[in-house]
């Protein structure tokens, strides 16, 4: 078997693996809602395995516009997301141990595909929640799709959505994964 990844590359991959698994404990993505009576803002914070923040308050406000209830149960992804993270952790370690560039290409491809699916999945949910409003709701609103990153105004609420620490760590993981390609580039 041809071992063609340098020591520096292996360290980079191991670091990537550790960071990957550590993202289980930090929030990935969030939304903050501001209104005149909520100048301090209401938070929705998404961890890979759970929702946090002012979920109950947001739900009680959303019922005015007929938005479905946010809860851990409404997002099945949250139940198996930790396994995917752990699987990536293991895969990265394996590639680091085998030190084969061709495996690394496969890993990066998987990571990119996973990322795209993840973002598509988020978009799907945002669309589902924003456009599938209860027609019986007291306040009638045009359906809307909150952005994955950016600002949006719904009734009296201005929402900001953004990636949180975990999201940035995943970008860092990606950089650490591609680093060996540059480090061990053919000379």
């Amino acid at each position: 078997m041809k071992r063609n990844l340098s020591n520096a590359s292996v360290i980079s991959l191991i670091t990537a693996a550790i960071i990957t698994v550590s993202t289980l404990f930090v929030p990935w993505w969030g939304m903050k809602f501001y209104a005149p009576q909520y100048p301090e803002g209401l938070d929705i914070i998404v961890y890979p395995s759970t929702l946090a923040g002012d979920i109950d308050i947001v739900n009680s406000l959303n019922h005015y516009i007929g938005m479905a209830i946010f809860s851990n149960e409404s997002f099945p992804e949250l139940q198996w997301m930790p396994y995917i993270v752990i699987a990536f952790f293991v895969l990265i370690l394996i590639v680091a141990l085998l030190r084969r560039k061709s495996f690394l290409y496969g890993l990066i491809a998987l990571f990119v595909i996973g990322g795209i699916i993840g973002i598509w999945d988020m978009y799907r949910w945002l669309k589902e929640f924003g456009t599938n409003l209860d027609p019986m709701a007291p306040i009638e609103l045009e359906p809307f799709i909150p952005p994955i990153i950016g600002e949006n105004t719904i009734a009296n609420f201005v929402t900001h959505s953004y990636f949180l620490f975990g999201g940035y760590l995943l970008v860092l993981v990606f950089i650490l994964l591609v680093f060996p390609l540059w480090k061990d580039r053919a000379k």
Binding site: D54, D56, I57, S60, H63, Y64, P138
Partner: protein, 622 residues
């Protein structure tokens, strides 16, 4: 060429400096410093939007039975907290637990608030209130500003001289104003001297369970106990009380209780009495452990004082106690050190009612008699060793030095001040910033509202050498004493904790239900923006049907765990209204004695659809 260079360099530096000055120099800062002393009165009390007052003033509401909460220095009234009086706005006295707490009384006469203390300083956890009208003591939880316990005290005749707390809130003490026979007995007024007694209630308060307990009572001669204070530091084991009516008058007290030239300050060693009570040396009277301090050497002494004194206040360092003369136009400073020395030497001049009377000359340090100042009532303190006295008759505040007796300043008040409250002014570390004079009269100071004028309060800046009268504001009748506590000491909660095990609470919409037990109907319901759910299974979850004569219990939980989303609950024509704050569960209990259809609605504005937050109580005829 060189000259050009130099010129351009100099110009560059000058331009840079100019930019720096324009952008970074804080002209406001400079002018503020310069005009610090000239700050207008309006600026001193103006709290801009987005900023908060520095102090809370907890002001007794007298016979309204309420606590008035003000912000200082703005003097804005922030909240009225019902203590001894039902309050429809908050449902106090209508919900089951508050109704039980009030015990059938509809008012109380709240004179002297006392914030709980640790090491002689306010800890901001609880506030205690006395009820002179109906012999009770109450506790307000300052994390929610709600009354959490009220206890009735036996053997009392109006606890006017309370409440005050000992250094670490070991006791909340309430000396009685009117003497009365013990044990609710009848005794002719001709037997006043033998059969009537003064009593001090020594109550304890458990901060965990938020419950009072009556530890013991001290039986005293039938003098009237007017005001009192607890010692601090070196005097921490003692309480001091002023008396009047050493004449034992039983009628026309205005004249008959003002005959003797001297009344007394009574000193009681509570530490000693506590030990005796623990040793079982007490009598059971009407369920109270009654102890007579005269039975125990060293437990009680009297100090003669000019007739009918009013306030007696212990200095922040605990070394002196100052009596305010009321009828004698002066303040008398007594030394604890000299008092303890006199006790040691048994320097007694007399014995009254079996109580050793200390020699006035040996314990008195000085008499302070500002010329023309009449009717001193109460003393407060600053951080620089000065005392401030209200002068009821000459309508002024007098500032004087405790150490020297020198009168430093006098300022008029508008009008007839009773108590005064200085910022943390009765603790071991007064702040010395503000003093509020609590006046009995406001005559023509405010828009007329008919024959009865409002009472008034003066805000006085005491941070400088001279006092500065800043403003006067009207107030509901009738505050007696107040305490001013720094805002940092008050830690409020914004929503009640979601306690899923709480009795009668319901947290999920689908768990809302109605249960019938004989002729009792229990509704376990929820309030949320903007609907009631009483019975999740019903086609109409917000309607409840009962039979005429049923006893109905509405157990309502507000599941909106969101700041300031309070829901109310009023029933048409049933004279009922109560509220549930975020995360709270309250119970309303009543007999559905009128058949018919009665709309129920949320009385506390909660959202845009608040108007729609309603339901029906249907009472089927028998």
């Amino acid at each position: 060429m060189t000259t050009k260079r130099i010129i351009s360099a100099v110009l560059g530096i000058v331009a840079g400096l100019l930019v720096a000055v324009v952008f970074f120099a804080d002209f406001n800062q400079a002018s503020e410093n310069a005009s610090g002393d000239l700050k207008s009165k309006a600026e001193k009390v103006y709290v801009p939007y987005g900023e908060l007052d520095e102090y809370y003033m907890m002001s007794s509401g007298g016979h309204s039975g309420q606590l008035f909460v003000y912000g200082i220095p703005s003097m804005r009234k922030i909240r009225t907290v019902p203590i001894f009086t039902p309050d429809p706005a908050t449902g106090y006295g209508y919900s089951k637990e508050t109704k039980e707490m009030l015990g059938g009384f509809t008012w109380g006469d709240f004179h002297h608030p006392a914030i709980s203390e640790t090491a002689g300083d306010y800890d901001g956890e609880f506030l205690f209130a006395n009820d002179v009208g109906n012999n009770r003591v109450a506790a307000v939880d300052l994390s929610t500003f709600t009354t959490v316990d009220i206890m009735s005290l036996p053997n009392m005749g109006g606890p006017h001289a309370g409440v005050f707390v000992t250094e670490n809130t070991e006791y909340i003490a309430l000396p009685t104003r009117f003497a009365r026979p013990l044990d609710n007995k009848y005794a002719d007024l001709d037997k006043y001297e033998e059969e009537y007694k003064g009593v001090v209630s020594m109550t304890t308060f458990d901060k965990e369970t938020k419950k009072f307990d009556l530890a013991y009572q001290i039986v005293l001669p039938p003098w009237s106990y007017d005001l009192s204070d607890a010692g601090k530091k070196m005097s921490g084991d003692w309480i001091v009380m002023t008396t009047y009516n050493s004449e034992f008058a039983t009628t026309n007290l205005e004249i008959n209780a003002s005959q003797n030239d001297r009344d007394y300050i009574v000193l009681v060693n509570w530490k000693k009495l506590e030990e005796e009570v623990a040793a079982g040396n007490y009598h059971d009277v009407n369920g109270a452990k009654m102890i007579d301090p005269r039975d125990h050497k060293g437990a009680i002494y009297a100090v003669p004082v000019a007739k009918s004194p009013h306030g007696v206040d212990v200095t922040p360092d605990g070394t002196r106690y100052i009596a305010a003369g009321k009828l004698a136009p002066m303040m008398t400073v007594f030394s604890f050190e000299k008092t303890f020395e006199a006790i040691e030497k048994e320097d007694f001049t007399d014995e009254k009612f079996g109580i050793p009377v200390l020699s006035y000359e040996s314990v008195m340090e000085r008499e302070v008699d500002p010329p023309g100042a009449l009717g001193p009532l109460h003393t407060q303190f600053d951080d620089k060793g000065n005392a401030y006295n209200t002068m009821f008759i000459s309508s002024e505040i007098v500032k004087w030095n405790i150490e020297t007796g020198e009168v430093i300043d006098r300022t008029p008040s508008y009008f007839s001040p009773g108590h005064a409250a200085a910022a943390e002014g009765d603790t071991v570390s007064p702040d010395g910033k503000w003093l509020v004079s609590l006046n009995k009269i406001s005559k023509d100071n405010f828009l007329s509202v008919g024959p009865s004028h409002p009472e008034s309060m003066d805000l006085i800046d005491i941070s400088g050498e001279k006092m500065e009268h800043i403003m006067a504001v009207p107030v509901d009748p009738e505050p007696h004493y107040a305490q001013i506590v720094h805002r940092d000491k008050i830690k409020t909660v914004t929503v009640y904790e979601k306690d899923e095990n709480r009795e009668n609470s319901v947290w999920k919409q689908e768990d809302a239900r109605v249960e019938r037990k004989g002729d009792e109907v229990h509704v376990y319901g929820i309030a949320m923006r903007s609907r009631f759910i009483f019975d999740a299974q019903s086609d109409r979850p917000d309607a409840v049907t009962v039979k005429e004569g049923d006893r109905v219990f509405f157990h309502l939980t507000n599941i909106d765990l969101d700041q300031d989303i309070t829901h109310g609950f009023g029933i048409n024509e049933y004279d009922l209204n109560f509220e549930v704050q975020p995360g709270q569960t309250s119970t309303l209990e009543f007999v559905a004695d009128k058949a018919g259809v009665y709309p129920i609605y949320c009385t506390n504005f909660c959202s845009a659809l608040h108007q729609e937050m309603s339901g029906y109580l249907l009472v089927e005829p028998k």
